[in-house]
């Protein structure tokens, strides 16, 4: 079935957004794995070094989810440059979860990038049969 070009673009953008959203939680944990951050600094790291374009506010639902699941802990720290900042640190449980998720992610990436030869396809066909 053929779709108009604009629909193709929309669908592509939607898929990219979904993919990024799915990976964003892992990326947040990855950044916090190395050092503590507050919301604004976390967004800066993610957008500047990772070339990820996100709405800045969407970082907070992720942080709330991680906090609720006990994967991060937070504390308010006074700042001489403005209002106090709420810093997030990965907990030991969060570090463990990040390691597990990273392995899973690597597996998925290798699966997505795998060169499917005719041989591997035929092996799958045999297994299914």
């Amino acid at each position: 079935m053929e779709y108009p070009d604009e629909n193709k673009d929309e669908n592509r953008d939607r898929r990219i957004t979904q993919l990024r959203k799915g990976i964003l939680e892992l990326a947040v944990m990855g950044v916090l794995f190395h050092e503590r951050h507050y919301g604004y600094s976390l967004v800066r790291v993610l957008t500047e070094s990772g070339s990820i374009s996100i709405k800045e506010g969407t970082i907070y639902p992720i942080l709330a989810r991680l906090d609720r699941d006990g994967l991060v802990r937070s504390e308010w720290v006074e700042s001489d440059q403005g209002p106090p900042r709420k810093y997030y640190t990965l907990t030991p449980l969060g570090r463990q979860a990040f390691n597990e998720l990273s392995q899973e992610f690597d597996l998925l990436v290798s699966l997505a990038q795998r060169h499917w030869t005719e041989q591997s396809k035929s092996k799958l066909a045999v297994r299914k049969g």
Binding site: G39, T58, D69, P83
Partner: protein
């Protein structure tokens, strides 16, 4: 350092109010903490956004920050219940069980008692006004008959003759009186009945005021009791949290 120009503060406050509106089901302490965090982010983003137009800077920050609904999407109680980690969830379950086991039967009984009381009061009120109306009507008719006896005695006699007016029993003494005395006594009786009916009506107005006051008192007490229970279940404070964005003096 935590200061915006007035126009910027108004825009930022409006945004925070919209975020807060989405958080109305979230406990107050959590609301305050989250709004404080958002405010901190917005301030820093604004401070680091280049440009000479303050309003354009804060609008650019808010555009990049996203819609309030997106920002609070995982802070809503529904999301907490779905994930099964809501801190107040056990309390809600316990409360639900208590209501199911005890509240409903007692509630149904209480509802029945309330309906019965209201019906009884309504009946009492109807009966009361029926008596007042009867007194007024009887008084008016009696007064008219007294006037008839005075102005048109032949009509009175005719009414006695055809049996509309019975002067039996205690009223027999009226036959021994002159027509004018008879008329005065009947009119006096009518006036007394009218006065009695009018008095009951006046008393009824005060009674309704009293009942209204009593109902308001009881319903107000029930409303405050329900609010207190809701507040305890949510673990919120009754005070409204203050706005977070400071304005430049």
């Amino acid at each position: 350092m935590n200061e915006y120009p007035d126009a910027v503060a108004a825009i930022a406050n409006d945004y925070l109010e919209r975020v807060k509106a989405h958080l109305r089901l979230v406990p107050a302490s959590e609301q305050e903490d989250f709004l404080r965090e958002i405010q901190s982010h917005l301030y820093e983003a604004y401070d680091r956004t280049p440009g000479s137009d303050d309003v354009a800077r804060i609008l650019a920050v808010l555009r990049g920050f996203g819609a309030p609904a997106e920002v609070v999407s995982d802070r809503l109680p529904q999301a907490m219940v779905r994930s099964g980690t809501g801190r107040k969830l056990p309390l809600y379950i316990a409360g639900g069980l208590l209501v199911a086991l005890f509240g409903l039967p007692l509630g149904a009984g209480g509802f029945g008692v309330l309906v019965g009381l209201l019906a009884a009061l309504a009946g009492l009120l109807v009966a009361y006004y029926a008596v007042a109306g009867s007194l007024l009507l009887t008084g008016a008719i009696t007064l008219m008959l007294g006037l008839t006896r005075l102005i048109a005695p032949e009509v009175w006699d005719k009414l006695v003759r055809i049996g509309v007016i019975h002067l039996d029993g205690p009223a027999q003494f009226l036959e021994r009186l002159s027509a004018s005395d008879e008329a005065l006594i009947v009119m006096a009786l009518g006036a007394m009945l009218l006065a009695g009916g009018w008095g009951l009506l006046k008393l009824g107005t005060n009674m309704i005021r009293g009942l209204r006051f009593l109902f308001n008192l009881v319903f107000d007490w029930m409303r405050r009791f329900a609010q207190e229970i809701r507040r305890r279940l949510r673990g919120t404070e009754p005070e409204k949290p203050a706005l977070l964005v400071a304005k430049r003096a």
